[in-house]
């Protein structure tokens, strides 16, 4: 956990007071909507179909139990008793009243939570690996670097009016759980041949209507230089990024139009001016930030405790353990993922009661800490293996023990046309139907790792381009249709999926996905060849034939 200092607390409280005054002036008519819109967006407040939507930041996906209880309180007191965890480690409330927003922000501020960097054309929540600090083999905790960037860019005047929003993700593991290659800047922390720790810097990734995989702009930047180097990239983007066309304003377009070599040369030139400046991160600065992260005092525990041996005969527990429990860097402990994808449920939603219950379980079994992943699930990062049976029983009671992590029903989905004013088609009911079709755990397990991502419009909040199966909602003559892509992935081997053919109507989507999965089962070389590897080996043609032969 990161502990805010007095400066952080003052900043958050002042921000609440400022916004309270702005809301008051808006409601009295002193501010017009045109004047107010940018102010509300800088505080995470959007206008959606049914109401205002309030997006709250969960920096690098880390929450204390106290913070999660406050998120539950906001859901219960100011909204309709639930929240939606997003693909960028934020939470959204869908029914918030503008008149009550300052009070909600004030309640959140009491536990160090805010809505800065959740909207607007500025730096967004710097995301990270939800297993940060506990993943085996990790170089070091990447959240330290997320926090340094968060502090430097929050309310930074130079980065508050960028051509468009700007997203950074950081990983420090070989396996990328933070999807860094689809971010404006992706940072991969590693140790070079000389033993020095630094970053591979990638730039220009992103989805939306013009998707690109990020390209490496510099293979190694020393950690002391990372702030100045990122700032150099932002300066080049701020200077040359297009402001005349919202669809061409993201840095990915600039990188594409200039070419990575020319863009890199511009960054190098800018960097020369600022690399040896106050932006240089001395060890003492890094240690100061690091010192504000607290880590659990782990016990020395056996690898296989008696409690685990005794419960191993229970097939339901074993199904959950094999699916949702992952290896921790400390012997005797586990990382546990809590599925927010129950059969028939909206992906990523949690009720206030569930949030409270998870906070209690975090206190009891995970040193009071919870993580949020971009796959829209929660994580308890420090669970003693001896506690796994008791935790499983407790999670099952509150509907959070569905053993489907990374399986076909662990679907990433945006809110879609049920909530979003930008959407062309619904996402959630498609996801709900698919979870019902693949509800049988044995079948889902037999299919193996398969990520389905659904977006209700081309803005791609559901990351459909990088789903093993991607589903994109479009509108044709007033009807919902869906384009299907296959073969995408968001990890260290990230790539865009390939369209398999014409869009299909709403009522056919689940049948089409079943056809694709059946084709995969018939075509895979071995039971352990993953869907995405079968697509890579065979291409999309056999799947296209299967889907469209009778349509």
């Amino acid at each position: 956990m990161y502990a805010y200092d007095e400066l952080d607390r003052t900043l958050i409280n002042e921000r609440v007071s400022e916004f309270r005054d702005q809301v008051k002036r808006r409601l009295s008519g002193e501010l017009t909507e045109d004047e107010f819109k940018m102010l509300r967006l800088q505080n995470g407040v959007y206008l959606q179909l049914h109401a205002y939507m309030f997006r709250v930041a969960i920096p690098y996906g880390t929450l204390s139990s106290k913070q999660l209880r406050t998120l539950a309180h906001v859901a219960r007191r100011y909204d309709r008793g639930y929240g939606h965890f997003t693909t960028r480690q934020n939470i959204q409330y869908n029914w918030i009243k503008l008149s009550e927003l300052p009070d909600a922000l004030a309640d959140l501020a009491e536990v160090g939570i805010h809505a800065m960097q959740t909207s607007g054309n500025n730096m967004r929540n710097v995301t990270s690996d939800q297993w940060a600090g506990v993943a085996p083999g990790e170089i070091e905790d990447p959240r330290i670097w997320s926090e340094i960037l968060r502090q430097h860019t929050t309310l930074h005047p130079e980065f508050s009016f960028l051509p468009r929003k700007f997203k950074i993700a950081i990983t420090a593991s070989d396996h990328d759980r933070a999807a860094i290659k689809i971010h404006d800047i992706g940072l991969r922390l590693y140790r070079n041949a000389e033993g020095e720790t630094g970053f591979e810097v990638l730039v220009g990734g992103g989805l939306g209507r013009t998707p690109f995989i990020a390209k490496t702009i510099k293979p190694f930047v020393s950690r002391r230089d990372i702030l100045s180097y990122v700032e150099a990239i932002l300066r080049v983007y701020n200077q040359y990024g297009r402001r005349d066309n919202i669809y061409k304003a993201r840095i990915k377009i600039l990188v594409h139009e200039l070419g990575i070599e020319k863009f890199a040369a511009e960054v190098e030139e800018e960097w020369e001016h600022i690399r040896d400046s106050a932006l240089t991160l001395e060890d003492s600065v890094i240690e100061e930030i690091r010192s504000r992260f607290s880590y659990p005092a782990y016990d020395k525990l056996p690898h296989m405790p008696e409690e685990l041996k005794k419960t191993a005969h229970d097939p339901h527990f074993e199904a959950w353990r094999r699916n949702s429990v992952f290896t921790h860097k400390v012997q005797g402990y586990s990382i546990v993922t809590l599925s927010l994808k129950p059969v028939g449920g909206p992906p990523g939603d949690a009720t206030a009661d569930q949030m409270d219950a998870v906070a209690d379980l975090a206190d009891k079994y995970s040193f009071g800490e919870i993580r949020v992943g971009h796959e829209q699930n929660l994580v308890l990062p420090h669970v003693a293996k001896r506690d796994l049976p008791a935790l499983w029983k407790a999670l099952d009671k509150i509907g959070l023990a569905t053993p489907n992590i990374n399986l076909v029903s662990d679907i990433i989905a945006c809110p879609g046309l049920d909530y979003c004013s930008l959407a062309n088609a619904r996402s959630i009911p498609i996801a709900q139907e698919l979870t019902r079709r693949f509800a049988n755990h044995e079948t889902a397990n037999m299919i193996g790792r398969l990520h389905i991502n659904i977006s209700g419009c081309i803005n791609a909040c559901g990351h459909h381009h990088v789903g093993h199966i991607g589903i994109l909602g479009v509108e044709k003559n007033g009807e919902e249709f869906y384009q299907i892509t296959i073969g995408g992935r968001a990890d260290e081997n990230a790539q865009m999926g390939t369209l398999i053919g014409p869009a299909v109507p709403y009522g056919d989507v689940a049948d089409v996905i079943e056809d694709i999965v059946e084709a995969y089962l018939a075509l895979r070389a071995r039971p352990d060849e993953l869907f995405v590897d079968t697509v890579k080996r065979l291409g999309v043609e056999p799947f296209r034939e299967r889907v469209y032969a009778t349509r």
Binding site: H50, K97, S99, L417, R426
Partner: protein, 103 residues
């Protein structure tokens, strides 16, 4: 800047003006009495582009009470009942199409 009264607005069938209420964001409809209602059945229905333009201009003038006013199609039943003219407006009028809890 183009005056709202001169903006190109073309409707192809019966339409209404809808927005969200500023204080709480709920869906509202412009009425023939120059006010707002949370019920679609109270909406003023316009049939020509000129009428639509005028109704929208009147709605936009109420910047304190409403946010994001726009013209949307409606379907008029023989009984006189006003129905939303597309899926987006059906969802805004009737609410979510999904189960919030697993089912």
């Amino acid at each position: 800047m183009t005056s709202p009264l001169q903006q190109k607005i073309k409707i192809t069938g019966p339409s209404m003006v809808t927005a969200n209420r500023t204080s709480d964001g709920i869906v509202i409809y412009r009425t023939a009495q120059q006010g707002w209602s949370a019920s679609l059945s109270d909406a003023a229905v316009v049939r020509t582009s000129d009428e639509a333009r005028a109704l929208l201009a009147e709605a936009n003038a109420d910047d304190v009470g409403a946010v994001g006013a726009y013209i949307a199609p409606v379907e008029l039943k023989d009984s006189g009942e006003i129905k939303p003219g597309n899926l987006r407006e059906r969802i805004r009028s009737k609410g979510l199409t999904i189960d919030l809890l697993p089912a």
